[in-house]
Amino acid sequence: MDGKDDRKKITGKILPWILPLVLIVLWFFVSRTELIPGYLLPDPIEIVETASVYIFAEPGSSPYAGRFINDAAVSMLRVSIGFLIATLLGLPLGILSGRVAEVNSFFNTFINGLRAIPGITWLPLAMVWFGIGVRTTVFLVAMAAFFPIYLNAAAGARQINPLLLRAGAMMGVGRVRGSYAVLLPGAMPHIMTGLRLGLGISWAYLVLGELTGVPDGLGAVIMDARMIGQIDMIIVGMILIAIVGKLSDTLLITLLRISFKSARRMT
């Protein structure tokens, strides 16, 4: 029994790394044999070198040297502000429209219509409205993150077991306490899904916003590197966004678990 469990544990630890490893080996293979030329896909070692310069080198020693901390920080700030706006609007509105039919029918058509517009088409308008820079990026992030947060909060509030609401009512729970002590925890698994999806898409729209010519940020670095044809830097930027995005997701889950019993115990 124990042996079987142990084996399962080990398999579980190894399994997620197999595919990335195979791909890296494959990458080495195609670039060392020059099946794919270096100006399309640089050698992995070169990527590591570029990354270490970008992250650790003394700023000013080369175009991208040592800029990572600053870029990551401003990008994270933009994502945070946009995501926060989306959450502050999307959560209460979503929960309300999940519980109150009138609110739902008031917003639903409008929001679903709005949702059908591809996020990228907001870019020209946003640039006219907010100019090039931080505000456009924040607007795009908030816009994109709003929909998954709103829709999942609404779904969570709608599907909550009506007997739990009844149980709350018969124990004398009023509107206010009912909202945060029954409704919110009851909808928590859905809310969490919405927030995670929203945060994920925030990073996508961050890059879109930063492609428009802001001087700093992880997206700006990628666009900048494209202009001067530094493929290795583009790939480094992509990998770092993946890592920072994953870390921010973990951070979000951790924060929710610390703050809410329901997030800790139901997901």
Partner: protein, 265 residues
């Protein structure tokens, strides 16, 4: 006159002669496929303070609908429900419900579930709250399980938690909707005994809905027998048997026969 009839009489003559709960001509009609159907037809009965009343009827006679009306979840089409003389219009902690299904909050532990209602009701000291919760955990025998989540305990234990979280609020009346129906035979018997001993320890008005004739006789001071189609109170039967009761007790089978006769007619 038996001891129990005496006691019932006594309740009725007590300082407050007002029934703990009274239903007067409660009628409920639903539209089913466009046809108006009378589900409950002029239900009238009263239950007095600290009385244990059972409502027995076949499935589909409207027992659950009646209970929902008494709890305030549904407004009746006609008629009136009063609790301690006051008409009710919405659910409230004076009429607590123990549901058939699992309605514990899955994100709260056993202890937190039991404390939930009291937390909202009392602004008093946390020490007092703690003591009360400890007491009720002990009463339902779940002290060792207080930090478990509902999904980690058995359905019998869940029903104990449901019971405790309602008893702790000391409502005017506890409404129970076939709470033990989904339990196995032995657990059901255990829960019935527990319920009766709790009721004897903490005097409490209970209205218990069931389709199980034996259960009704084991538990009730009196039984309201319901007809089906439309649901109406057919007869009120007093059960003056000694407690604790058992199905092999003398006199038990005569009540059972009587009830079966009513329900099969």
């Amino acid at each position: 006159m038996t001891a129990l009839q005496e006691r019932t009489e006594l309740y009725q003559r007590q300082a407050s002669p007002v029934p703990a709960l009274e239903a007067t001509d409660v009628t409920m009609r639903f539209k089913v496929n466009g046809v108006l159907k009378t589900v409950l037809d002029r239900i009238s009965f009263a239950t007095f303070r600290n009385e244990f009343t059972c409502i027995v009827g076949q499935s589909g006679c409207g027992k659950t609908t009646l209970l929902n009306i008494l709890a305030g979840f549904l407004p009746p089409s006609e008629g009136k429900v009063t609790v301690m003389g006051k008409a009710i219009c919405r659910p409230g902690p004076d009429r607590c419900v123990v549901f058939q299904e699992d309605t514990l909050f899955p994100w709260l532990t056993v202890r937190e579930n039991i404390a939930f209602g009291l937390k909202g009701k009392e602004r008093g000291s946390t020490d007092h709250l703690k003591e009360e919760v400890n007491r009720f955990l002990d009463l339902v025998g779940l002290t060792d399980y207080q930090n478990y989540l509902p999904r980690e305990i058995s359905s019998g234990m869940k029903q104990r938690v449901e019971l405790a979280r309602v008893l702790i609020l000391r409502p005017h009346i506890i409404l129970m909707d076939e709470p033990f129906a989904s339990l196995d035979y032995r657990t059901r018997r255990e829960m019935q005994n527990l319920l009766v001993s709790l009721w004897q320890e903490l005097p409490q008005t209970i209205l218990f809905v069931t389709h199980d004739v034996d259960e009704a006789i084991v538990l009730g001071d009196k039984i309201e027998i319901m007809d089906i189609n439309p649901g109406r109170v057919h007869e009120e039967l007093h059960i003056p048997l000694e407690r604790p009761r058992h199905i092999n007790q003398s006199g038990f089978s005569s009540y059972r026969d009587k009830l079966h006769r009513f329900l099969c007619d």
